[in-house]
Amino acid sequence: MTSSSAASRKALSKIASNRLQKELVEWQVNPPVGFKHKVTDNLQRWVIEVNGAPGTLYANETYQLQVDFPEHYPMEAPQVIFLPPAPLHPHIYSNGHICLDILYDSWSPAMTVSSVCISILSMLSSSTVKQRPEDNDRYVKNCRNGRSPKETRWWFHDDKV
């Protein structure tokens, strides 16, 4: 949560901050199973602990998701990445970027942080191998200047995992 990255982002619009406040309240009343929101006073960046689902490759492992909300959330998708160390998964790059369509092209304003989290956990749970994407090194090298995954042109090719 460096000040520079916070400053470079535009503040949440009124509607975005109103909606996020309500999402947060709903989360507190009814958190998605396996997730824990780490309390901060920053509504625009949520850090969420993910527990690997029991009976999957990631059981008993804990990871952290960082969710950054754009000014025009929910019309624009939030940026969701894993903080290091990112889980070993065929769709998760070592820099924490996640190849998941709903985070990019298929985002819909009807989705919520909670539903996104569940999709990510579901993606983790259905994995059969713990390995990085084939193009991990190339991709991560390209992103070295701290590029957002939202600027990546994702190619969603695998609907199994």
Binding site: I15, N18, N30, V33, P54, S108, I118
Partner: protein, 423 residues
């Protein structure tokens, strides 16, 4: 259905025919928007409320509350006009997909404030979601328990690692259990508070007592209760103006139910309530079979996919923990995995469209349409279809419920509270 004759022009204050500034609108054709709102093709741009008060609907995009929302043609999900304008980018060449079900060419229609049937149907759907959540959670906890059991068995058999393992294990159980327990309390409270707010207090506590017995059943009862209650409200409201068909048919149905025990209905004032209660008692005495049938039936009808493990859950675990949280899995599956929903939504859409066409002609056929066009996502819901239709109560509980409903209705009609007669 846009150009139908007889479509009522909405009387809308001029200031609600343009956006209230929820978003920084890009390019809105304000003239066209105004026209659409005045022609009742889009919901008026009322300013959204932060808080939910009765009869307001929440827009699932901006999370604000409105007197009425537009409905998507594909999946009938609500959206406020200002959010809808954000979805439809005017100069885009690509057809906009529905934000809810991803059907391409997103379009909405406006059908005014929701009818009671629609609200009742929604409540039943909500119940179903809650039930599915509970089953998921039960399964989860059961699995976990089994795992812990195995681990403890293992550790107790090996001397060297024993104490450490057991300790770790029990801590794990505790820490995982506690949030779950909290959740149960929360959801129980929610359930109870709605129950109490809609019912006389003695009924609230009565159902509260049963809570430990079988949450599943309570919730089904709740759904039945609501549908009965809603029908009654309407029946009463209508009987003031003119006796409607529905009222008559309900009367008819009641008399059928009471017929077998007509002899035992002694109190003239308590009438129906007494008779039904008596019938219920008689059946209760004649055997537990109908009761146990009732406790197991509703859960299996809802989601056969889960019924198998639920069956085992019921048999194996008598301790029951935490309804709420398995939840999101169910919900999540609906939202992000839109492809699965596609068919469901389209089916439903067409049914609703049918109901919609009868809108202009008169109100009563529309009501009928509302009931017959109950959304049937698939055959799984068969168990619920007969809820809004006349119910033939099988179990003691249901009959008592019905009896209470009638006594309530009677109490309302006749000021000298005959409702006490059944007690």
């Amino acid at each position: 259905m846009g150009n139908k004759l007889g479509r009522r022009r909405q009387v809308v204050d001029e200031k609600y025919t343009k956006p209230q500034g929820l978003y920084n609108q890009k390019e809105v054709d304000t003239k066209r928007l105004r026209k659409l709102i005045l022609e009742s093709k889009l919901a008026p741009c009322y300013p959204g409320d932060e808080e939910s008060t009765c009869d307001l609907e929440e827009c699932p995009i901006c999370f604000l509350y409105y007197p009425s929302l537009n409905r998507s043609r594909c999946c009938t999900k609500g959206i406020c006009t200002e959010c809808f304008l954000q979805m439809k980018v005017p100069n885009s060449t690509r057809p906009t997909p529905c934000p809810f079900c991803k059907t391409s060419n997103y379009a909405v229609e406006y059908r005014g404030v929701k009818t009671k049937e629609e609200k009742g149907i929604e409540q039943i759907e909500e119940q179903r979601v809650i039930e599915a959540k509970i089953r998921m959670r039960q399964k989860e906890l059961q699995d976990e328990e089994e795992r812990m059991q195995k681990r403890q068995d293992l550790s107790s058999s090996s001397r060297t690692m024993g104490p450490v393992e057991v300790d770790h294990g029990s801590v794990g159980v505790l820490s995982r259990r506690s949030p779950a327990d909290e959740e149960e309390i929360v959801s129980a409270d929610q359930l109870c508070s709605t129950a109490i707010s809609r019912q006389p207090p003695h009924l609230g506590t009565n159902r509260d007592d049963e809570f430990d017995m079988d949450l599943e059943e309570i919730m089904v009862n709740e759904a039945i209760w609501r549908s009965i209650q809603e029908k009654h409200n309407k029946a009463i409201a209508r009987s003031v103006a003119a006796p409607s068909e529905q009222y008559v048919s309900e009367d008819h149905y009641v008399s059928q139910t009471t017929a077998p025990s007509a002899g035992s209905a002694s109190s003239p004032s308590g009438g129906l309530a007494c008779a039904i209660a008596a019938l219920a008692e008689r059946q209760q005495m004649s055997g537990e079979s109908s009761f146990s049938h009732n406790t197991t039936m509703p859960s299996y009808n809802v989601l056969p996919n889960y019924s198998q493990f639920y069956q085992t859950a019921v048999q194996d675990s008598d301790s029951y923990v935490a309804p709420e949280s398995g939840a999101e899995l169910a919900q999540g599956a609906g939202i992000p995995m839109a492809s699965d929903d596609g068919e469901w939504n389209m089916d439903r859409g067409s049914e609703v469209a049918e109901a919609g066409t009868s809108y202009a002609s008169s109100d009563s056929p529309r009501d009928a349409g509302g009931i017959s066009a109950l959304p049937q996502p698939n055959e799984l819901d068969a168990g619920f279809q007969n809820l809004p239709a006349p119910i033939v109560p099988e179990s003691f509980e249901e009959q008592m419920m019905l009896a209470m409903a009638f006594s309530l209705a009677e109490a309302r009609a006749v000021t000298s509270g005959p409702g006490t007669a059944w007690q």
